[in-house]
Symmetry: C2
Subunit: 209 residues, 2 copies
DNA sequence: TAGATTGTTAATCGATTAACAATC
DNA sequence: TAGATTGTTAATCGATTAACAATC
């Protein structure tokens, strides 16, 4: 895979583009100019053209962008066509929510297992997925090679579990624990969902306005 | 409140500083230099000094930063001392998780009500908080003046509910719906927790490495 | 065709990093 | 005191915005 460096600022905006294009497509809109999309998203037209141009020439002079095409392209760039495998570690309340409500498929993932240490949960089926004992994790990974793990375990266990997962070959951690994880192995992607941080930021904003 | 402009990049890092300082304090560490904190957080010492200097002179030459003091100061800056009020709208699975597990107090919030439209839920007590009918929302807000609402309602209702909340005087929306909200009233803070976006970003990262 | 809008280069702006005198 | 480390200015780097020729 070629690597024409894409800045973090651009990558952060990609899912937003994707969401807006999905919305527009669902509304039946067929074309949009960088100007109109910019108004909608609170970005300048120039920025949108720069961002998209990182990945190719998706627009057409005098016309703008064809929404179905652009949506599809950005989906490809994000990787939603790959159907990667994800497992959920920790089937407590939050794990439950993910298993029950989250549209993994829309993000290009297939989920087929969850793990917990609570025996009461073993065998429980939550939204099509069976909860298994954490002791079966290694065998499961060896057999099915999941790509990503969603971590909803207690904070004390997060790092040690991460170390194991990385050693087993997992390539990404979707981290819901209030802990910052590291990996000795390079190339492992961490995506932290620190709810606490977002609420603190909101507090800051309302406290300084 | 004076307004020496603080960039978004700095504000985004504040909760992370706060978390690391909390961790360090819990470990009994008393002082830290910008160099050591930088190593820990993956930032340059210069950046840390610049960031903190936006808010005051918290360090001491030859010594570094006194952790309890700095932790307290950043807490003040974030607003955790104010005890603001928050309500949860939508007591489905995700609302449930928040009511049951989230440490609102640590973010400077007090939670004393949740609202839903499902009659089965009316009166249910979830983690000390009673679920009320959405029809009582206006009266409740008029009486208790909550500052922030956590939105865990279906996406179709998110914007119209937001409009109502803003009209009632709410000052911040902690948005868990997969929708981008806007407000005609300026000065309302939105903090989006777009889980979909974070998983898409993770997919991008593992697809391009 | 004429108008609209892109791709793309150049200019600007802002954020990060480096450097160092001040000082604990 | 000497060593360490800050606050703070200046230099660098990167991201955003502006501009405009190309062209649909």
């Amino acid at each position: 895979m070629s690597k024409p460096y894409i800045s973090d600022a651009v990558i952060r905006r990609l899912p937003r583009y994707y969401r807006h294009l999905n919305d527009l497509q669902n509304q039946g809109v067929v074309r949009i100019s960088s100007g109109a999309l910019g108004t909608r998203m609170g970005l300048t037209p120039a920025q949108i053209r720069q961002d998209l141009h990182c990945f190719g020439d998706f627009g057409q002079q005098g016309y703008g962008y064809h929404i179905p095409t652009l949506r599809h392209e950005i989906g490809q760039i994000l990787g939603v066509d790959h159907v990667r495998r994800i497992i959920v570690l920790g089937a407590g309340h939050l794990g439950h929510v993910l298993l029950k409500n989250f549209d993994f498929q829309a993000a290009g993932f297939q989920i087929d297992a969850a793990f917990d240490i609570q025996p009461e949960l073993f065998g429980a089926v939550i939204g099509n997925v069976t909860v298994r004992p954490m002791t079966e994790l290694a065998d499961y990974v060896a057999l099915h090679h999941p790509d990503v793990a969603a971590l909803t375990v207690p904070p004390q266990e997060a790092q040690s579990l991460t170390d194991k997962l990385v050693a087993m070959g997992l390539r990404g951690i979707w981290n819901f624990t209030n802990v910052e994880l590291t990996s000795p192995v390079p190339g492992v992607a961490f995506e932290d969902v620190h709810l606490m941080d977002t609420l603190l930021k909101l507090n800051y904003r309302i406290s300084h306005s």
